[in-house]
């Protein structure tokens, strides 16, 4: 039963296409990266792990557009397959941290009292651990790879989401529509999940989009220092690490191509996230 029409949602304002060129370019960049990650087995010209020692550090040729690395592997193919782990890691972190953060933020705002105070304390403690540091500690405990850092970074980012959700919900629940549902006998949990949550989601989504960029940079850095994705798996951070020898000897491309990919994605995500938050009236605290 629907006693009241759903409150005017902010989502609608997102649908207005008032996009700037920069925003569109960023969307296209992000789309290209996502498509090449998903369709890498079809689109990639070579197997990313095939070693060709007769054709090492070839530089750009018609056969290898971005050249080959120190083991003769095709850089373009490795970039496309590398997009998979490079994008999947941050995606998992963003989904996990957003889910945990929404849950804790809702509980803190809705229940208030000692629970709210306790959660605030725990968040304060976690803020003292930079995400990358927590990820490094997790690798020290559970071993190299993507699994431990992804979980550690989800825990590190959840408090940021939770604090945002809490502050939004605390304001939102004072609005008349919440009281109106209350009066009609709807349960608090139903109002929180079905009516309040959808109203705060766009702002949370914008923040999570920005988080995606930070997490991508952190996870790439982790693979770059050799603690994340391990050889021979293609990953942008790991590729830069593997190509450092070539870089020192003057072969820039094998290290520079994944570097540029990281920067492009991070900038594109930043622009997309900020555009979202601008459209919402800049509700995201810096």
């Amino acid at each position: 039963m629907r006693a009241l029409a759903a409150p005017p949602s902010v989502v609608k304002s997102l649908r207005l296409p008032r996009a700037s060129g920069l925003f569109l370019t960023s969307l296209i960049v992000a789309a290209i990266m996502v498509v090449s990650a998903i369709a890498a087995p079809i689109l990639a010209p070579y197997n990313p792990n095939i070693v060709d020692l007769a054709n090492v550090l070839s530089g750009p040729t018609s056969a290898h557009w971005l050249g080959t690395d120190a083991l003769g592997r095709d850089t373009l193919s490795r970039m496309m397959f590398g997009a998979r782990s490079s994008l999947l890691g941050p995606l998992l972190v963003v989904v996990l941290s957003t889910a945990i953060g929404i849950l804790l933020g809702l509980i803190a705002a809705w229940r208030g009292g000692w629970l709210d105070a306790l959660l605030a304390r725990i968040f304060d403690l976690l803020f003292a651990f930079p995400a990358l540091l927590l990820a490094i500690l997790a690798v020290a405990l559970f071993g190299k790879g993507l699994a431990a850092p992804v979980i550690a970074m989800s825990i590190a980012y959840a408090p940021f989401v939770a604090r945002l959700v809490r502050s939004l919900v605390v304001t939102e629940r004072t609005r008349p529509y919440v009281a109106a549902y209350r009066v009609q006998g709807f349960s608090g949990g139903w109002i929180a999940l079905r009516r309040v949550l959808p109203n705060v989601m766009p702002t949370v989504g914008a923040q999570s989009t920005l988080n995606f960029g930070y997490v991508l940079a952190d996870l790439a850095a982790l693979s770059f220092i050799g603690l994340g994705v391990q050889a021979p798996t293609a990953d942008w951070g790991a590729m830069i690490n593997e190509s450092r020898g070539a870089l020192m000897s003057g072969q820039i491309l094998p290290a520079m191509a994944p570097t540029i990919a990281v920067v492009l994605v991070v900038i594109a995500i930043n622009i997309i996230g900020e555009e979202f938050s601008d459209r919402l009236g800049g509700q995201i605290p810096l």
Binding site: L125, F129, P130, L133, I136, A140, L141, D218
Partner: protein
């Protein structure tokens, strides 16, 4: 009295946070399933002597809480345990590595302060003009560059192509050491310059619109005096706050940069210790970074009311 209350409360929070962090860092080991001896001796030969040594060193035959109390007690005496890879006290290993990290962070800090403040002030004073727009665009770009990307690009351009700077190692002696730190400190500073510049700009703009600035200008004070005494001083609060947050980022990012440039500092020691399964060193460095971070933020919180007494008044009124 108000100031006393504020200081006492901040110090209380500091102690609680450090205590909780020590719990988290110590008991994180309990998250690893299986035998703690096997965990600590991963990748090493589990000879009876090694097992006996590690059991004695960590007190593994005692209950976990007893181990924690012993560990904490030792911390207060400056004993951080023994490194498994160097077979030396962790304190000794850290002391060896400290100068490089200290030099790197100080150099980067100076760069961040000078460039960040300058860019922010210039942008704010030229609001909406070309200089402002150029700085904003540049800072948005810089802010999106992770420190390891900065390191790779700087190595490619200034070390490999131009050959102006060394690309690897810590160098010998003081002058050579500083020379080896120039590219790394730039790589470390880039992202944070953007952060400080953006906060400085928005904080200055906020002040420039205030009535007291208008009054000062209409009283005929020279522009430079208005900016320095009335705008910049009042704009310090947010800049200081962001500097506190920045310290943790700097320390963590220094491990990436040190690794990229092959510098023998605390950060690369952390990475190396994770790689070589030397948990006592990892534990010590993680706790150290968290303590420094919390300490700096407490200092920043305490400085704020000295610069702007209204902060103290506001905190007491709450």
């Amino acid at each position: 009295m108000n100031i006393f209350k504020l200081v006492a409360r901040k110090l209380g929070t500091l102690l609680v946070t450090v205590f909780a962090a020590s719990l988290l860092v110590f008991f994180s080991r309990a998250l690893v399933p299986g035998d703690p001896v096997a965990f600590l001796l991963r990748g090493r030969k589990p000879s009876p002597e090694a097992i006996a040594e590690v059991t004695k060193q960590f007190g593994l035959d005692k209950p976990m809480w007893q181990q924690y109390i012993d560990w904490l007690g030792n911390l207060f005496h400056g004993d951080l345990g023994r490194s498994l890879q160097f077979r030396q006290d962790v304190t000794t290993v850290l002391a060896d590595r400290l100068p490089v990290t200290l030099g790197l962070v100080v150099l980067a800090g100076v760069l961040i302060a000078i460039l960040g403040l300058a860019a922010g002030i210039i942008a704010a004073l030229n609001r909406g003009r070309t200089a402002d727009r150029a700085i904003l665009i540049a800072m948005t770009g810089l802010g999106a560059i992770p420190s390891f990307v900065g390191a790779i690009v700087l190595i490619a351009v200034f070390a490999v192509q131009l050959g102006w700077f060394p690309s690897y190692g810590s160098g010998d002696g003081f002058a050579d050491g500083i020379f080896h730190l120039i590219l790394p400190s730039i790589a470390l500073a880039l992202t944070f310059v953007a952060l400080v510049a953006r906060v400085t700009r928005s904080s200055m703009l906020d002040q420039l619109e205030r009535e007291h600035v208008e009054v000062a200008t209409s009283r005929g004070l020279p522009r430079s005096r208005v900016v320095l005494r009335h705008v910049l001083r009042n704009a310090t609060g947010p800049i200081l706050t962001v500097s506190g947050v920045l310290v943790a980022g700097l320390l963590v990012a220094s491990s990436i940069v040190e690794q990229a440039f092959g510098l023998a500092g605390i950060g690369s020691l952390l990475v190396q210790s994770v790689d070589r399964l030397d948990f006592p060193v990892v534990q010590a460095i993680v706790l150290l970074i968290v303590i420094i971070f919390v300490l700096v933020n407490t200092i920043v919180d305490l400085l704020a009311p000295l610069i702007d007494p209204r902060v103290a008044a506001g905190a007491a009124a709450r």
